[in-house]
Structure formats: C-alpha cells, structure tokens
Amino acid sequence: MQSNLPRSNWREIALWLFRRRRLFQVTGDSMYPTLAPGAVVMVDPRAYRKRIPRENEIIVAQHPLQAGLRIVKRVTAVVEAPAASTAGSARVILASDNEAAGADSRSFGPVPLGLVLGQVKSRLR
C-alpha cells in the first residue's frame, strides 16, 4: 500500500531551521504521483540511526552502482540479515511509485543499509 507524503508543517520547518532536515529537489517522474518532478522534500538524515527502514517508507539512498547519484524510492521490503551477521548487513528493496516506470524488470537489487541517506518526511512543494 502506498501512502501519501504529508505537506511540511510548522514542526518540519522548525526541524529544518535546526538542521535536522535536509532539502532535496526531485528530478524525474518515477515517484509520481507521490512526488512530481520538481517537488522539494524534507529528509531526516538521522531517521535510521536507531532503527532500520520499514516497508512503505520513502527514502533517499546513494545509488549502489552509480557513484554520486542519489535516488528517491519507496521501500517495498527489508531483507533480513543472516543470523550470524550484524544489523548493518540488512538490505532494503526499493521501488518506484510510478507503475509505468516500475514495469521495467531491470533493477539494481537490494540496497545495503549503509547507502540509505535518510527518510523523506514531508513535501514542501
């Protein structure tokens, strides 16, 4: 189930003032209709310091194969780490909201948690 992203409220704006939110402008339409191209989102870089991402959350991540490219996607699954390993080896599976875009069978596979840069909390524009 997809959920809509709330508009930024005063609390979000205050958190941004205290540098607890980072602003990103969205390019491309793979997250449409949740995020249209040009949308500006507020991202919490600390969201996943104490917990791992959950299904259905929208995140910003470093692209696993293209250095310097940040992507915005929705978490569709969290792949558990093998029993012997640390929590750091869990991976998230990401997808686009735009079904036309998601139909492409090519995908970059599970993304290590270390590449997740934060959670998209709200939308300014």
Binding site: T27, G28, D29, V40, L65, V72, S96, A101, F108
Partner: protein, 150 residues
C-alpha cells in the same frame, strides 16, 4: 496560507537533487541480450536461404522467417543502442576511442540484416557484438567468456 508561502520560500533554497528517473538507472546491462537477438536473426537468415524459392505451400513459413528475422534484427539494434547511449560514458570513450564507430557499424549491420537476406551481414553483426562484449566486460573489470547458443 502563510505556511504555504514560507514553504515556497524555503523550497527555493533546495540545491541538492535526488533522482527519480523513470528508466531507473539500475546499471544492469549485458551485451548478451543483443547477441541473442542477433543470433536469432542470423539463424532466420540461414533458414530463409535453406528454404530456397518459396513454393506456394511454403509462403506462410517463408513469411514467418522473414518476420522473425526483421523483429530480431530490430531488437538487436535496440539493445545495442541502450548499451551505447545508457551504459557507456565519456571516460570509456577515452579508453576506446573507436567505440562510436563500433556501435555505429554494429547498428548499420542490424539494418542490413533486417532489410535483406544477407548471411555475411548477419555473421559480421555477431562478430561486432563479440567485439562489444569484450569491451563491455573489460570496462567492468571482469573476464566474461563470450559464447553463442547454437
């Protein structure tokens, strides 16, 4: 209302971007997809030649062979163009200065295979794809052996 105006002002300060591109820059490329299509087109070219001048009973078979040959040659071209334009970057061009020529020639061979019943073109296309296969995997730093299905 006021919050909306403030939000708009703050939004203007956003300098960093995050990508939500539709073709999902996934980085999963493999010249094998072009090779399979080109190999199918080569096979259909050979079958058309083997069939010889079509008797009336063979017209359907003949038509199918031609249709499949054209589809597969076109698909091979599409797959090559995706590799060329999406995967390869300027830094690869520095290392392989004839990269553009190779893709241009391979794409032209796809057209020749599609348009005619040209066994030489079909074989040359396979050779061109093998060449691209070797370059592609070299850029990935991997030693992947080239093979064909038939």
């Amino acid at each position: 209302m006021f919050r909306e105006a403030i939000s708009k002002l703050i939004a203007k300060t956003a300098v960093d971007t995050v990508s939500a591109h539709c073709d999902g820059p996934c980085g999963v490329y493999d010249p094998a997809s072009a090779r399979i299509a080109a190999e199918a087109a080569l096979s259909m070219t050979q079958k058309i030649i083997d069939l010889g001048p079509a008797e009336s009973a063979d017209h359907n078979t003949y038509g199918r062979f031609v249709s499949i040959k054209e589809q597969q040659a076109h698909l091979a071209k599409e797959e090559l163009l995706i590799l060329w334009t999406d995967y390869f970057k300027p830094e690869h061009l520095e290392q392989y200065s004839d990269l553009h020529d190779k893709f241009w020639n391979a794409a032209k061979l796809c057209s020749a295979v599609k348009q005619g019943v040209d066994l030489d073109a079909a074989n040359n296309l396979m050779a061109a794809i093998e060449d691209i296969h070797n370059i592609y995997w070299a850029t990935k730093g991997r030693d992947v052996a080239y093979y064909v299905a038939t």
